[in-house]
């Protein structure tokens, strides 16, 4: 365990922190429901590890060491918060479980409860993902704020407010009952997918805000699958993200140029990731309970098929979109459905789908205008097409996408 000098020890602390952070926060806060104090206590333990481990060597069971140290810090915190009248039984509980852990060096994995708490219906849906990133993965507020394009101070305040609500608002650390499970699980999946960053559709893509979080999202989905195996939609979500991740290397050409899906060189796709995605999706379909993420993954599996067949089965994609729209008529889904219809039935049919979307909803939605511009051009409606290209360019955030659209516009 020991060795590699101080740098090796620091790497070991990082590794333990990364793998154990969520487990420790979940366990430390499951009795008190106080995530903020649990996180503070764990930070203290990690700081202590930075001094103690290089000096004394990395302990036999680093996770148990961190838990014991963090729990001591947590007891101090609770002692200081004398205002909390109910703290005596909690103190007792913490002490009791402390000896129990010291004996067994194993403690229960409460991360599933933590995930459900983060995506609880009483918490603002916009905070589900940031809460998960912080409490399960240990990301700091500054990085989360950057990903969500808000000020670090604001994000810090919102996270603190959400944690106060969890502590004082009677939100229980528990796995939802069978009848609530599908809906509650859906919120967890949505929050993970939001972290992945959506913009992976074929006409325009690359929402850069999400990119650096996609690995974290895949990690979260893997954790979730481990905690709640064989759930069709969990498998579907993981498959969906892996299909997209497999194409990461092909999404930019020389000089950072944006390359849309239909023009990507499949040689740059990751076959191992595609194969893993296929395994998860096949297992999901066996459950016979189709859902939004399975359908999204199925669409991506058709796209992935081009690596073998050299062509895209647009008809299959359109059929999957038809099913998807019935359960999830989101703006992005309708836009991509219109693009798939245009591929199979011509630009006029695609445009008719776009025309049916409420104009008020699309004023800030760039992919809609990019698809619209493309279809209008195919129909020879030049002035309208240029106008739509302008809207798409004006709404573009990623410079590579903006450049791509400017070139298309001509």
């Amino acid at each position: 365990m020991n060795g590699g000098g101080q740098e090796g020890t620091h790497r070991e602390i990082e590794r333990v922190a990364r793998e154990s952070y969520g487990r420790l926060v979940a366990y430390l806060s499951s009795h008190t429901r106080d995530m903020a104090s649990a996180e503070d206590a764990l930070s203290e333990a990690l700081v202590a590890a930075l001094t103690a481990w290089p000096r004394d060597g990395v302990p036999q069971n680093p996770e148990a060491w961190l838990l014991t140290t963090a729990r001591r810090a947590l007891i101090d915190v609770i002692r200081h918060q004398r205002v909390v009248l109910a703290s005596e039984p909690i103190l007792l509980l913490l002490k009791e479980s402390s000896t129990e852990v010291a004996l067994s060096t194993e403690f229960p994995d409460e991360r599933l409860k933590l995930l459900f708490v983060c995506a609880h219906p009483a918490i603002d849906p916009a905070m589900h993902t940031p809460l998960m990133l912080q409490t399960v993965l240990g990301l700091d507020a500054v990085r989360i704020a950057g990903a969500f394009l808000v000020q670090p101070k604001t994000m810090g305040q919102r996270l603190a407010r959400a944690k106060t609500k969890i502590r004082d608002g009677g939100i229980q650390f528990e796995i939802p009952q069978e009848r609530d499970l599908p809906q509650r699980l859906d919120a967890v999946l949505e929050a993970i997918y939001a972290a992945f960053g959506i913009g992976w559709d074929d006409m325009v893509g690359a929402d850069q805000r999400g990119q650096n979080l996609s690995e974290e999202a895949i990690w979260l989905a893997r954790v979730l699958l481990q905690l709640i195996p064989h759930q069709a939609e969990v498998l579907g979500l993981l498959a969906l993200m892996l299909y997209c991740e497999a194409r990461r290397g092909a999404r930019r050409g020389p000089g950072g140029r944006y390359v849309r899906l239909s023009e990507q060189d499949t040689k740059h796709w990751s076959l191992p990731l595609i194969e893993e995605a296929e395994r998860h999706l096949a297992e999901a379909f066996k459950q016979g309970r189709p859902g939004r993420f399975q359908l999204e993954a199925a669409i991506q599996s058709v796209h992935a098929e081009r690596a073998r067949s050299g062509r895209t089965e647009w008809l299959a994609i359109m059929r999957f979109y038809e099913q998807l729209i019935r359960i999830s008529p989101a703006l992005g889904t309708q836009t991509r459905y219109a693009a798939a219809v245009a591929e199979t039935q011509g630009p006029e049919a695609g445009l008719a789908i776009l025309d049916a979307i409420d104009l008020g909803a699309v004023s800030g939605y760039q992919p809609y205008w990019a698809v619209r511009a493309h279809l209008l051009r195919l129909l020879g409606k030049t002035p309208e097409s240029l106008d739509a290209y302008d809207r798409a360019i004006g709404l573009a955030e990623d410079p590579a996408v903006r450049q791509f659209l400017l070139q298309k516009r001509g």
Partner: protein, 122 residues
């Protein structure tokens, strides 16, 4: 509420002011302006002449000090401003991210201060 987007531009961006407007940076700005107007949030704004045209005035010890050049000696300089009517800072940050200058230099977002104005204008 109203927000000002303060557009800080690089020397390269200022240099595009000299050409005929067919470059992609200017094209992106045309499209961005259109998107702001079509979204119904545009209140006003203007580009500023290049920083070399700036003159900074201070009175020190009752004497005029006139400096040839902008207030701050930085690589990126204020190149213009836009006033937007929006519901929240989050919305303002979204629009700032779409500004073509955000990906090459920087856009500063500041809420306007109507109370301060009220105190002055009465």
């Amino acid at each position: 509420m109203q927000f000002a987007l303060l557009i800080y531009e690089s020397p390269e961006a200022f240099a595009t002011r000299k050409n005929d407007g067919s470059d992609t940076y200017t094209g992106a700005w045309r499209a961005y302006y259109k998107a702001l107007v079509e979204a119904g949030i545009y209140v006003g704004g203007d580009p500023l002449e290049v920083p070399e045209t700036a003159t900074t005035v201070r009175i020190k010890d009752a004497r005029r000090h006139v400096q040839d050049g902008p207030y701050a000696d930085t690589k990126e300089q204020l190149g213009g401003f836009i006033i937007l009517e929006l519901a929240s800072l989050d919305a303002a940050l979204d629009w700032a991210a779409r500004c073509p200058t955000a990906s090459v230099a920087a856009v500063e977002v500041r809420p306007l201060a109507p109370e301060a104005k009220q105190r002055i204008t009465g």
